[in-house]
């Protein structure tokens, strides 16, 4: 349904008629109005705008990279590159029989540690609740953190993961992408690491270019030695 794509800015009328307003659109009278700078998409019965700018807003089930900023005796607080802090309860790590006397939180996660986490629950009344009790989640032991704009995460992943697969294949690096715009790259060789980092930064800077995939491919193949 992507044939009805349009570039919109806040206030632009995307369409009018009986559509369901989804992300970044509001219904005003009979018109559906964009509320962000982005690309509008009209589906069979719904309308949405893919934003090109903006902060990360947590969404349930998003995989995010978080940085431990502090802990109390019951929970950790994670910086998830958003306007809200991620709340990671101690039970999530120690299990149900967690006791504030017996268990010391800093033995598992210290301030400054990076974790791969999933947003377990979030609504407007409370800070996002995150969990690390799932496979692929938990403390990140090695790798380099690369920060990109959250609105460019879909571009880095590419259609069905094509972009990120290409970068991983080209550099032998393992890349963990958080929906919040934080990306962890780890690789056995330093060259691969640097190359992958460069590729990710290139996607961030040149996200609007149409043939970005070819550009990245050339860079990974070493054709771009400028």
């Amino acid at each position: 349904m992507a044939d009805k794509r349009k570039y919109v800015i806040p206030g632009d009328i995307v369409t009018s008629g009986p559509f369901r307003p989804e992300q970044n659109v509001v219904l005003e009278g009979n018109n559906i109005i964009a509320t962000a700078v982005g690309i509008s998409e009209i589906y069979d019965d719904s309308v949405k705008v893919i934003p090109l700018t903006g902060k990360y807003i947590p969404k349930i089930n998003d995989l995010v990279i978080g940085k431990v900023i502090s802990h109390t005796s019951l929970s950790w607080e994670l910086d998830v590159n958003s306007c809200y802090v991620g709340f990671l309860p101690a039970q999530d790590v120690f299990g149900r029989d967690f006791s504030t006397h017996a268990d010391e939180l800093s033995s598992k996660l210290k301030t400054g540690d990076l974790v791969a986490a999933r947003i377990a629950n979030f609504d407007r009344t409370r800070d996002p609740l995150v969990t690390i009790s799932d496979r692929d989640l938990g403390k990140i032991d090695d790798g380099v953190l690369v920060k990109i704009s959250p609105s460019k995460v879909p571009r880095l992943i590419g259609k069905k993961g094509s972009m990120i697969q290409m970068i991983e294949m080209g550099t032998n690096a393992a890349v963990t992408i958080g929906q919040n715009g934080w990306v962890v790259v780890s690789c056995e060789t330093d060259e691969g690491l640097l190359k992958a980092k460069k590729a990710i930064e290139m996607v961030n800077e040149k996200a609007h270019i149409a043939n970005l995939t070819d550009l990245i491919k050339d860079m990974l193949d070493g054709k771009d030695e400028s």
Binding site: Y7, G11, I13, I33, V37, C83, H208
Partner: protein, 244 residues
């Protein structure tokens, strides 16, 4: 801009104003979205001889904490004029006038921004007037709305603003510094062009009811001209090299 002639004719017999404009012609306007790397969103505007830079941060944590609202996000606006923005050095501390304009701009932006999506947060708008030449509040409001859109703050509509006024018994568009000082009335108008709603309306001077209506109409028409430029600024930044 102290250099201009103080005894000038505000409106000559051919309907040409002191700076050579027609009665319904705005000054030269240039808007640029983005430009500040460390701000979440920014905009720069040149509105005639006005030069204004706006930076937006947020949504982010509210400090002090007691200002936060559990129902909605809050908007904070600081309008500030640089000491070198006017002919004689302006003391840098916020004056009564600047505090009032901050409040007025905040209230003009509030109907547009949808901060109820971000409870317990704040959006900060910092407006720095680098050079002033009359009508800074309108120019600042126009730029602030572009900067908010650049920051990705959800908005129902853009806010465009321009002043209309009365000079030599004629209703004119876009009052400049001289016309503001020597003219009969000055009316800043803030307007949401898609929703067709006025968010800012002030009036300094005396107008008859008929003149008042005409003045608002002229202002709203001017806002539509400004809106096209806001649109262009955002399109240039985000869709510049794409085909629509």
């Amino acid at each position: 801009m102290g250099g201009r002639d103080a005894t000038m004719v505000l409106l000559d017999e051919n309907g040409i104003r002191c700076d050579g404009r027609k009665i319904d012609e705005p000054r030269k306007i240039m808007i640029k979205a983005g430009g500040l790397k460390n701000a979440d969103g920014s905009a720069y505007i040149e509105f005639g001889d006005n030069k204004i830079l706006v930076g937006v941060f947020g949504p982010r944590d509210v400090h002090p904490k007691h200002m936060s609202n559990t129902d909605t996000g809050i908007l904070r606006v600081r309008y500030h004029m640089e000491p070198f923005s006017v002919g004689e050095r302006k003391r840098p501390a916020p004056s009564r006038r600047e505090i009032e304009i901050s409040k007025v701009i905040k209230e003009a932006l509030e109907p547009a921004v949808m901060l109820e999506k971000f409870p317990r947060t704040a959006v900060d708008v910092f407006i720095e007037v680098l050079q002033a030449d009359g009508g800074t509040r309108c120019a600042a409001l126009t730029a602030a709305s572009v900067a908010l859109a650049d920051a990705g703050i959800p908005m129902r509509d853009m806010v465009a603003a321009i002043a209309s006024g009365k000079v030599a018994d004629t209703i004119i568009l876009d009052v400049n510094n001289e016309e503001d000082q020597a003219g009969q009335a000055d009316m800043p108008v803030g307007y949401m062009p898609s929703l067709k709603k006025i968010t800012l309306l002030q009036l300094d001077g005396v107008l008859t009811p008929e003149e008042y209506k005409k003045c608002v109409d002229v202002g709203v028409k001017g806002c539509e001209i400004v809106y096209e430029l806001q649109k262009k600024a955002l399109h240039d930044k985000y869709f510049g090299n794409r085909k629509d």
